[in-house]
């Protein structure tokens, strides 16, 4: 199946029922969040499945960046790098006194 952007395609399912697909237009702006939600809602009302890249925002920080995790897998980092030395723990205890 290959249908043009901005057009619809009816698909007959195995039980004889139909679904309608609507491919996003080529000039569609996938960075517009409100427009994306509006079109999805419109599709629900019209009983159409909107297809294509509906929304994109590459600027958002992913979970691993948010947590400031190191690039090396945690499992491969040696104990001396992940375990604070005795002095650091003693200092912490002093500060909590």
């Amino acid at each position: 199946m290959d249908y043009d952007p901005g057009t619809t395609q009816d698909v007959t399912l195995h039980d004889g029922s139909h679904i309608r697909l609507r491919k996003l237009r080529e000039d569609y702006d996938a960075t517009d969040r409100m427009k994306a939600l509006g079109l999805l809602h419109e599709g629900q009302v019209k009983q159409e499945f909107l297809t294509g890249l509906i929304y994109v925002d590459p600027s958002k920080k992913d979970f691993l960046s948010l947590l400031q995790l190191p690039e090396s897998p945690l499992a491969t980092i040696p104990d001396e790098k992940v375990r604070p030395p005795r002095e650091a723990l003693d200092q912490m205890m002093e500060e909590l006194k």
């Binding site: 199946m1 290959d2 249908y3 698909v11 399912l13 195995h14 039980d15 029922s17 679904i19 697909l21 491919k23 969040r33 994306a36 939600l37 999805l40 809602h41 629900q44 009983q47 499945f49 909107l50 297809t51 294509g52 890249l53 509906i54 929304y55 994109v56 925002d57 590459p58 600027s59 958002k60 920080k61 992913d62 979970f63 691993l64 948010l66 947590l67 995790l69 690039e71 090396s72 897998p73 945690l74 499992a75």
Partner: protein
């Protein structure tokens, strides 16, 4: 004197690998299932993008769709989680080893019904992974009961009508801040391939809701 042409070597990608090296086990799904088409496009996308197979981590839950991670990139890592619990396993794995490319394949039952609680937190955390929902509106493995994405008014073979509204996974994902939200149809291979390649390149959760009607239980 006649000469015999040497067999042509199959094309390779930038890693020097053929598309066959991105394959997996033979599918055991129903003949004609759209999920197998999605598997082929995942395989092709990984090949074309030159992803190293040993850097792939395939995550899944339970359902027809969740079986499909066995059908591609058999040199990658894999974890088949409890029903609807794939997001937490994927989160733990990604925290432990951020150097792998995570791809989750789930179904609408696994994602939108029993797994809805985990799915929404995966989205709001923006875990770097490709999350493909092979969406057919039914629980295929347990004989076709409605899932939470079944259209209002859909009718089962037994005559039962779905009286509940469908969840729109794409709208839900956008609401929760997902940075790559796409929908396709299993029969539209060209569009599907382009969207999977885009998802591989995206840093963050990439949700692909792929409509893939069930050939056995027919619902949508």
């Amino acid at each position: 004197m006649s000469s015999v042409a040497e067999p042509k070597a199959p094309p390779t990608n930038r890693r020097g690998l053929t598309v066959k090296e991105y394959g997996g086990l033979k599918s055991t799904l129903c003949v004609g299932c759209g999920h197998d088409v999605i598997t082929r496009q995942i395989t092709q996308a990984f090949y074309e993008m030159g992803v190293e197979p040993h850097r792939v981590a395939k995550m899944s839950g339970i359902g027809c769709s969740s079986k499909t991670t066995a059908y591609f990139v058999d040199k990658g890592h894999g974890f088949n989680a409890v029903h609807g619990r794939m997001p937490s396993i994927a989160t733990g794995s990604a925290l432990a080893n951020p150097n792998l490319l995570y791809i989750g394949v789930s179904g609408d039952g696994d994602t939108a019904s029993i797994g809805a609680g985990q799915f929404v937190h995966l989205l709001r955390r923006n875990l770097p992974m490709i999350y493909i929902v092979e969406n057919n509106g039914v629980y295929g493995l347990t004989k076709g009961q409605f899932s939470a994405t079944a259209d209002l008014g859909s009718r089962l073979k037994t005559g039962v009508v779905n009286d509940l509204p469908a969840m729109d996974l794409c709208a839900l994902a956008i609401e929760l801040g997902c940075g790559y939200v796409a929908r396709s149809f299993s029969g539209d291979m060209k569009q599907l391939l382009a969207l999977i390649k885009g998802a591989i390149a995206h840093r963050g959760t990439a949700l692909l809701d792929v409509i893939s009607p069930c050939v056995t239980f027919n619902n949508h």
